[in-house]
């Protein structure tokens, strides 16, 4: 474990020595096609694939999550119940859209298209997309959504988004951490060459006792790679098979 940590640090330091790509206006340029978890996808060796930039597998990260989640006792009990039943009630198993930040943890590419007035994020996973204007306030009375309503601003070289108007039907991760419509997310993106450091702070007075910050890192994919179609409901055979008799007997 210690060796792995040292190796990861070396990779990280190498990443941090890279320059920040910038737009003509001098802002950090996040444009490109990215993916969390490298394309080591589900544990495959990155070198076996043709899509990732030359970044070590150890630099890829689904999510860094402090434990335990700061959930209220009743909410923690409910999340544990989901985890103990092998998360058979996970909304995305029904092909429902993952919210923020979980959508970034999907092992599929996403593309960032950055303009001076807005940023678009196009995710392969679940056909999700976000159009994020640089704005000081959200629209009045937005409808609640799986992906919420996002606005952005700059904090130095950090791209910051504020996300509200969630519908309370998404999980923050794959461990049963459900949410309510009170969910409010602040995301912070920092770029270093071919890596993005991502931080998400969730506040949800409906289930949490305090804000919960998690981290991921994203790897730039090779030129020519792009998000493709992922129509989840096309052939979703899994639902009747989730958590079969052996689990129910426990």
């Amino acid at each position: 474990m210690r060796t792995a940590l040292q190796l990861a640090c070396l990779v990280s330091l190498a990443a941090h020595s890279a320059e920040i790509p910038r737009t003509a206006a001098g802002k950090p340029d996040f444009s490109g096609v990215w993916q969390s978890g490298g394309i080591s996808l589900y544990g495959e060796v990155a070198g076996n694939t043709r899509s990732t930039a030359a970044v070590s597998k150890s630099s890829a990260a689904p999510m860094l999550r402090p434990d335990p989640a700061p959930y209220q006792p009743w909410a923690a009990a409910k999340a544990k119940e989901s985890a103990d039943s092998l998360v058979k009630d996970d909304p995305i198993a029904r092909c429902l859209l993952p919210g923020v930040p979980r959508i970034f943890s999907m092992p599929m590419p996403f593309q960032i298209i950055q303009g001076s007035n807005q940023v678009a994020i196009l995710y392969e996973a679940f056909h999700a997309w976000r159009i994020i204007p640089f704005a000081s306030k959200h629209p009045d009375d937005p409808d609640p959504l799986f992906i919420g309503d996002s606005i952005a601003h700059w904090d130095g070289d950090t791209l910051v988004t504020d996300v509200t108007a969630f519908n309370g039907r998404t999980w923050l991760d794959g461990r049963g951490h459900f949410t309510t419509p009170a969910l409010h997310i602040v995301e912070r993106f920092q770029i270093n060459g071919d890596a993005i450091s991502y931080e998400s702070t969730a506040e949800d007075g409906g289930v949490m006792t305090q804000p919960w910050t998690t981290h991921m890192s994203f790897t730039r994919l090779k030129p020519g790679e792009r998000p493709l179609e992922y129509e989840c409901v096309e052939n979703n055979q899994d639902i009747p098979h989730l958590a079969g008799p052996q689990v129910k007997a426990k």
Binding site: A4, L5, T49, S58, S59, M63, P107, N236, A243
Partner: protein, 130 residues
Amino acid sequence: MKKCLVFCLAGVLAAVVPAAAHHSFAAEYDANAPITLKGVVTKVDWTNPHTYIYIDVKDDSGNVTNWAMEGYPPNTLRRTGFTRELVKPGDAITITGWRARDSASRAAAREITLQDGRKVYLGPVAQPTQ
């Protein structure tokens, strides 16, 4: 250094906690029930959220069972060089994986040995707890 810690620790976790794209492995498949099957491909579903390869497997008594073997989504396979024509109905293959918890003829696939002896991955490694 704080940033480094974030990248580093996240990287270490990545090695042991691959993200699931659609459903928990353990919710459907038993990581303690590995299986190796030899048979003839009857159908290929090049579909989302999973590909499926169906194979007829004959037991010692000559009875034939058609197995459904679940794999990565098509885009993931394409990115590893596994294209939709690589495995076709009629091909004789060997395939490894893990049995479904609730079905006698369903499994999560891992490695296919093709007719020409090449080995390719159809699906992920087993995840016992997620």
